[in-house]
Amino acid sequence: MRWEYLKILVLALVVWGVSFWVRNDYIFNVLTMTGLQALVVLGLSLLMGYAGQVSLGHAAFYGLGAYTTGILSAKYGLSPIWGILLAQGLTLTVAFLIGLPSLKLRGHYLAVATLGFGVIVEVIFKESVNLTGGPSGLVGIAPLSLGTYTLTSFKGYYLLVWSVLLFFLLLALHLVHSPIGRILLALHDSEPALRSLGYNIHRLKLGIFLFSASLAALAGSLYAHFVTFISPYSFTFLHSVAFVTMVVIGGIASLWGALGGAVFLSILPEVLSHFEDYEVVIFGMILILVMIFTPEGLISGLERRLWRFAKS
């Protein structure tokens, strides 16, 4: 755990340093988006790596966070703080209703349930035009504000999002190194053994699922107030898949790897956008090749190879 504190401290310094070095709003924009994606991926990594469950609907939780506070802000003029809190309440309720029945079963029922839930939410975002603005999107979301202070600068959002991310990374690392984290790791080896020790696995899995849904919704809420305009096309099934991919590329059950995966897959499309129409094709190729050659995750795989290289 001491190593982890050191790593977090270094990361915090880097994040802080970058804010002085970068003067370009485009880069701050990319970095803020990266931080938001990383926040979603952090929760999903806990769910996949430690609860052994996959969610194919995290973009829907992300969208629920964004649309709840977005609608409350744009249509009812509610302040962002209350919007974000209500978004959390709604997301947790929905996640509970999905998680409770599907986590009772062995196997990947949560993946199928969240997949179905994700598409339903996507359709609702598109079709309930009166509430969400439909396919053309929801405009007029207020930027974040507290009392009389309003946050508008790209740099401000960058620092806020990455502070939130670092805070939850620290929290997640504590969780992983706590007795609960060790129980969750043991879940991979033998569920009956854990049950015989008297642990309520179902409740643990549900707790992790709720936590990861809550993180996704928080990221979504911050996103809505950051860009002040949201459309259903940011919360599709493909985005859910992208989140899962980030976790897998980073290496399942590695929170730092998940962070790396989020950064890698957020920056890659920006770099590939120079290739225009080839972009998607190259993205698909990279995904396939990474999975074939480093199935333990690109980040963990490279780390292991570097260690081996350093030893020899």
Binding site: V54, V112, F117, V119, I120, V248, E279, V280, G284, I292
Partner: protein, 291 residues
């Protein structure tokens, strides 16, 4: 009543497409334990090739059909050889992510080759609609139903009466056991991908005159086909077939009588309901394991 009959028929036609896709999911799932998220792209390829061959090169229908089927089957086999086979030791989750990569890749390539605009496809059968008990039935719909039933019966016969089909059933039942008695799992996996891709390609061919062909048509069709497969319990061809038909009918009826805006959500709402009430699938005999 005429209305109801027309809705029912339209639902069966929709459902036939889902049934073919669900069959594809079921075949690959049983051979490898993998949910193939590129399934929808095989449908898209079938539709795109049909649009090209009939629209641009004026191939006659009966010549176009085998060419497209073989081509899509080859793409399926190639997908397995190039992406699944090299990673065969990896966990199912990794393999599933690979199929997602394949889906993105195929969609990107299709956009590159055919562009973003929908390509029109002429109706296969000329002439006006048929009349039945006061309802009007479009000829293309009748054709879709006939082809699907034929494809289902052929698949079922393949599973029951051919050696490869029996080997596939053995493999679905017990992979290790199948290997022990000398079934070549590697070849079997390749064949199952080809067969599954061909069935989905067939769905793409017959649906193309109704919806036209677009590079991104595969995603939603694939997801609904998957819902249909889960409906049927992912265990048998009959389950997948009935799952598809039921899904199509319920979807069209709710679009007709309730709201067409939320039509796309119906399949997934039903999926959630089935998962929570009968997670082993509506039409499956197995029971899900409780934790």
């Amino acid at each position: 009543m005429e209305n109801f009959l027309e809705f029912l028929f339209a639902g069966l036609v929709n459902g036939a497409i889902y049934a073919l896709i669900a069959l594809g999911f079921m075949i690959i799932y049983n051979a490898t334990g993998v949910i193939n998220f590129a399934q929808g792209e095989f449908v898209m390829l079938g539709a795109m090739l049909t649009a090209s061959l009939t629209g641009k090169f004026h191939f006659p229908l009966l010549l176009m059909l085998p060419i497209v089927l073989v081509f899509v089957a080859l793409i399926g086999a190639l997908t397995e050889r190039l992406t699944i086979y090299p990673a065969r030791e990896a966990s199912p989750l990794i393999l599933i992510i690979i199929t997602i990569g394949v889906s993105i890749l195929l969609k990107g390539l299709a956009m590159f080759v055919w562009g973003k605009d929908p390509l029109p496809v002429k109706a296969f059968i000329p002439g006006g609609p048929y009349h039945f008990l006061g309802a009007t039935l479009p000829p293309q719909g009748v054709l879709i139903l006939l082809v699907t039933v034929l494809a289902f019966l052929t698949t079922e016969a393949f599973f029951r009466f051919t050696l490869w089909g029996k080997a596939m059933r053995a493999c679905a039942y017990n992979r290790l056991g199948a290997r022990v008695i000398g079934i070549n799992i590697s070849n079997l996996t390749c064949i199952s991908f080809a067969l599954s891709a061909a069935l989905s390609g067939l769905a793409g061919i017959i649906i193309s005159p109704l919806t036209f062909a677009t590079y991104d048509m595969g995603t939603m069709l694939g997801l609904k086909g998957f819902s249909a497969a889960v409906f049927g319990g992912l265990g048998s061809a009959a389950g997948a077939f009935c799952g598809g038909l039921i899904l199509g009918v319920l979807e069209t009826l709710s679009a007709g009588y309730l709201s067409s805006a939320y039509k796309d959500a119906v399949a997934f709402l039903l999926l959630l309901m089935v998962l929570f009430v009968r997670p082993e699938g509506l039409l499956s005999l197995k029971t899900a394991e409780k934790l």
